[in-house]
């Protein structure tokens, strides 16, 4: 049973440290900090697992621990990004349920799903990440281009479409 303690404890400890730290002061680089906290916890767990008095990790048990921990950590990081910015579908749903039987006029959705909330920040994020760049094309026209880094990033997410043979654009 000590092995299962070693499996569950590091994630729980990292989560508690993360919540406590966020209560005191939320770091600017949230994802990077989360990654450091969770990976440090894994390294500590692997270190503890090497101490014979606690547990003698074999290569297989260490491999399972690493897979178990990394899949949980990635799942949490993905959920965390969803916490940072709500998606349009969830926002629409929450507003409709707030109105209940009175109903939410379709026309009012334009005030809820605005370009300032959903489109402009995402374009800014792409630019900040170096995935797109802008160039002045004259006559006060600004054009956006995909960068080589952006192409690599896009390829990463287009890979399943290639494998599964999906055509057209998702919704």
């Amino acid at each position: 049973m000590a092995y299962f303690g070693l499996l569950f404890f590091p994630f729980g400890a990292a989560f508690v440290i993360h919540v406590l730290l966020w209560r005191v002061r939320k770091p600017k680089a949230e994802i990077k900090t989360l990654f450091v906290i969770f990976m440090s916890s894994l390294i500590v767990a692997l270190g503890l697992g090497m101490i014979p008095q606690i547990y003698s990790l074999s290569v297989l048990s260490a491999a399972y621990l690493i897979f178990f921990y990394i899949s949980m950590t990635l799942a949490y990081l993905l959920s965390y990004t969803a916490l940072q910015e709500i998606g349009p579908s969830f926002l629409i749903l929450l507003h409709v349920y707030e109105c209940g039987n009175k109903g939410l006029p379709v026309d009012s959705l334009g005030e809820i799903i605005t370009n300032e909330r959903f489109f402009t920040p995402r374009l800014r994020d792409l630019e900040a990440a170096g995935h797109i760049s802008r160039k002045d094309a004259g006559e006060s026209e600004v054009r956006f281009f995909i960068t080589p880094a952006g192409k690599k990033f896009l390829k990463l997410f287009m890979l399943p479409r290639k494998i599964l043979g999906i055509r057209g654009q998702g919704g």
Partner: protein, 174 residues
């Protein structure tokens, strides 16, 4: 025991991947999300079967160890599935990826107005609304939106609101 844990997890994940890909490729007009869900169910059943065989029939561990190890495998399997599900979903629905794909098709670049025309708030609303209504999450009547017969997504949205408040002390809604 670790060999049994790892093997049953690997068998479950393999069963998921194969069944998801085959179902999506063989059945025409199959939605990718549905193929993933069916694949998840098949992978989960295979995982349980492999776990039962490797950790109970071949090497009989005490019931508590067996149950805790099964729970650990469920968590690992569900987490790996969740990561894959999000990876596929980002490629399918993410606005950022769609803008990148659009720009990739135009090496000469696109003006801001043109990008905005294709991906502005009206485009987002139309895409999301048609999906929410066709999935039964919302009901449209007399140009008004009402809660639909299905409630799965609103439960998830509320759960994320709860987590957002618990961790970030803020709400996205209100």
């Amino acid at each position: 025991m670790e060999a049994g844990l790892l093997s049953s997890l690997a068998i479950g994940l393999f069963a998921f991947a194969i069944s998801h890909i085959l179902i999506f490729k063989i059945i025409r007009n199959m939605r990718i999300v549905l193929s993933m869900m069916i694949g998840f169910f098949i992978g989960f059943v295979v995982l349980c079967g492999a776990h039962l065989f490797l950790l109970h029939a071949l090497a009989s561990y005490d019931p508590l160890t067996f149950l805790v190890s099964l729970a650990a495998n469920w968590i690992a399997f569900a987490s790996a599935f969740y990561c894959y599900f999000n990876y596929i979903n980002i490629g399918e629905a993410s606005l950022r990826i769609r803008v990148l794909a659009e720009l990739n098709m135009h090496p000469e670049g696109l003006p801001f107005a043109q990008i905005l025309k294709n991906y502005d708030n009206q485009a987002i609303i139309e895409a999301r609304l048609s999906r929410l209504v066709s999935n039964g999450q919302l009901r449209l009547a007399a140009k008004k939106l009402f809660p639909g017969a299905k409630r799965r997504l609103i439960y998830i949205a509320n759960f994320f609101e709860f987590l957002r408040y618990l961790i970030l002390r803020k709400r996205a809604f209100k």
